[in-house]
């Protein structure tokens, strides 16, 4: 079958690879109808995530139809249309039962390595570093889905792939980002970073009652979309210096009630020194330092909440913890517990309350995946997110 294969920095190729097969009675094999490129794929493309092996099949956002099921997958049958969470969870451990599926105890076969890096292991991930299991991904014609009886969500035929596919990760991430902000009606919410998750988080914050949303980014096209879809007040962050003041001006000197960091590290290096070095170079919102987190802490209202949706993976320098303490802030963060949000969000999509489809600015056949990577990487032609069709 054809699949997008990682070869190294800025080198992904569409190649013939063996078709996946069932390895466990709880597996399913899915025939992929649509798959997307994500921000994490850009990290892999940049070669900054270690633990990738040449030959790895990429892709953590995908959906399709059931091709084959294991004996214990009694809730699915061949031909069912399904969407798959980007993280793999066993459904039976304490964390899964608590709804904390991103922290599944059992789904990462290389958990020992994750424990060494992070002190604990979370769930396994499709198409990502071997620290998270090295599961082959879904930018392919077929993909094996472990614990399909728990993870796969059946979807009705009448809703388009473009609306369903964001359920694999970015829409749940956006929802959890807003939920972690504990938004109350009337709140002012600042969303730092208007990539796909940030743009969707604006929609989610609105649904949760945010009265005013301030969108921060340095890409004019993204700010335009934030204003258009989420009626957000755009703040261009080209000049980082004035941002705290700007946010105070937007909020009568109070600061935003909730700050959502939808940027994260976006690091261009994972070693401690690289991060320290780059922290000094913070120039842009989508930079390579904890610049956003610092700004969020400095601007957030006293007693407010900071919700971190962007990824952090190493150490960061100069976090103004004194300001966070003095202002009594709450910080919440983490990988998205995708499983618990998929069905409720599917309902909102079906009811027309949420429409994540416009996030896909470009559509390409799977065979042109390398071009898609380059385009999304350079943010060419207003590219926000690329959908691939096998």
């Amino acid at each position: 079958m054809k699949a997008v294969v990682w070869h190294g920095k800025h080198d992904v190729r569409v190649e013939e690879v063996p078709e996946p097969r069932l390895l466990s009675p709880r597996d399913a094999v899915i025939r992929v109808s649509s798959t997307a490129l994500s921000g994490s794929d850009m990290h892999l493309f940049d070669g900054i995530q270690h633990g990738m092996h040449r030959g790895d099949v990429l892709g953590h956002e995908f959906m399709g139809t059931v091709e084959e099921v294991g004996d214990q997958v009694t809730n699915l049958k061949v031909g069912d249309r399904v969407v798959i969470p980007y993280l793999i969870a066993c459904g039976r451990c304490w964390f899964c039962r608590e709804g904390l599926t991103a922290l599944c105890d059992n789904s990462n076969p290389n958990g020992g390595e994750a424990e060494r890096h992070y002190g604990a292991s979370g769930a396994g991930l499709f198409g990502f570093s071997h620290i998270f299991g090295g599961f082959p991904g879904g930018q392919a014609e077929f993909v094996r889905v472990p614990f399909a009886d728990f993870g796969a969500v059946k979807v009705p035929g009448e809703i388009s792939d473009e609306k369903i596919l964001p359920l694999t990760g970015i829409l749940p991430a956006a929802w959890m980002a807003a939920e972690n902000g504990a938004i109350r009606p009337g709140d002012v919410v600042a969303v730092f970073g208007c990539g796909p998750v940030g743009l969707l988080a604006i929609q989610c914050a609105r649904l949760m009652g945010a009265e005013k949303v301030i969108a921060l980014d340095y890409v004019p096209e993204r700010l335009r979309l934030a204003a258009q879809w989420g009626r957000a007040e755009p703040v261009n962050t080209e000049d980082m210096e004035g941002i705290v003041d700007e946010l105070l001006r937007h909020t009568g000197g109070r600061g935003p009630d909730v700050c959502i960091d939808a940027v994260g590290m976006e690091a261009h290096g994972h070693t401690t020194t690289a991060l320290f070095d780059r922290a000094k170079q913070a120039l842009h919102i989508e930079g390579d330092s904890p610049a956003v987190l610092r700004l969020a802490i400095r601007s957030c209202r006293k007693g407010g909440t900071i919700s971190i949706a962007g990824t952090y993976s190493g150490l960061v320098d100069q976090i103004p913890i004194g300001a966070a303490y003095a202002k009594g802030l709450t910080l919440r963060m983490g990988q998205t517990h995708v499983h618990r949000y998929m069905r409720p969000l599917l309902e909102r999509i079906a009811e027309g309350k949420l429409d994540p489809a416009p996030i896909f600015t470009h559509r390409l056949p799977l065979s042109e995946a390398p071009q898609g990577y380059r385009m999304m990487h350079r943010k060419e032609e207003g590219c926000i997110k690329v959908l691939l069709m096998p």
Binding site: C90, R92, N106, G111, R116, H130, G134
Partner: protein, 163 residues
């Protein structure tokens, strides 16, 4: 937590200790572990454990260059549903001892399992090859993965595979 004492490659003991919580009753975990022939199912560094008599077992492994390595061990002590301790017999090429302990976890969260393994030097080059190559930079990591596989086997009935 893992506690590693001793120098690498050899002149002092290497002792690795690791805890994991498994959501099954202590009796069940004890019974599974007491059948030492089950251990290779989740221990990455051991190929087979065969019974010689009621307390003695033959452990088989493979060095990184593909040569077989084996040693005899005997059960020193056991407390039903609580602990099992073993040691290699005198004169074995691999001199090792270990114990596993099962304690009910608070809040009905299953059983806290503690595994302690010690290797006693001076090991032969072959043992270093086997032990060190498998354990990589940090000996505790292999044990972490062993215990995680044990947990998967007990909680899910299978060991999760990426490919």
């Amino acid at each position: 937590m893992a506690i590693l004492s001793g120098k690498h490659k050899g002149t002092t003991d290497v002792r690795v200790e690791r805890d994991i919580t498994v959501e099954r009753p202590a009796e069940e975990l004890f019974a599974f572990w007491r059948k030492l022939e089950n251990l290779p199912l989740f221990m990455g560094s051991v190929d087979a454990v065969e019974w010689i008599d009621e307390t003695r077992t033959l452990w088989k492994a493979t060095t990184s260059d593909g040569k077989p390595l084996s040693w005899e061990a005997e059960i020193l002590e056991e407390k039903a549903n609580e602990s099992i301790a073993w040691t290699s017999v005198k004169g074995s090429e691999v001199e090792t001892s270990g114990s596993v302990h099962f304690t009910p976890a608070p809040g009905g969260r299953g059983t806290e399992v503690r595994l302690i393994v010690r290797f006693i030097p001076p090991p032969s080059e072959r043992v270093i090859e086997w032990f060190w190559n498998l354990f990589g930079e940090e000996p505790a990591e292999q044990m972490r993965n062993d215990l995680r596989r044990f947990k998967q086997l007990m909680e899910l009935g299978e060991i999760v595979r990426a490919r």
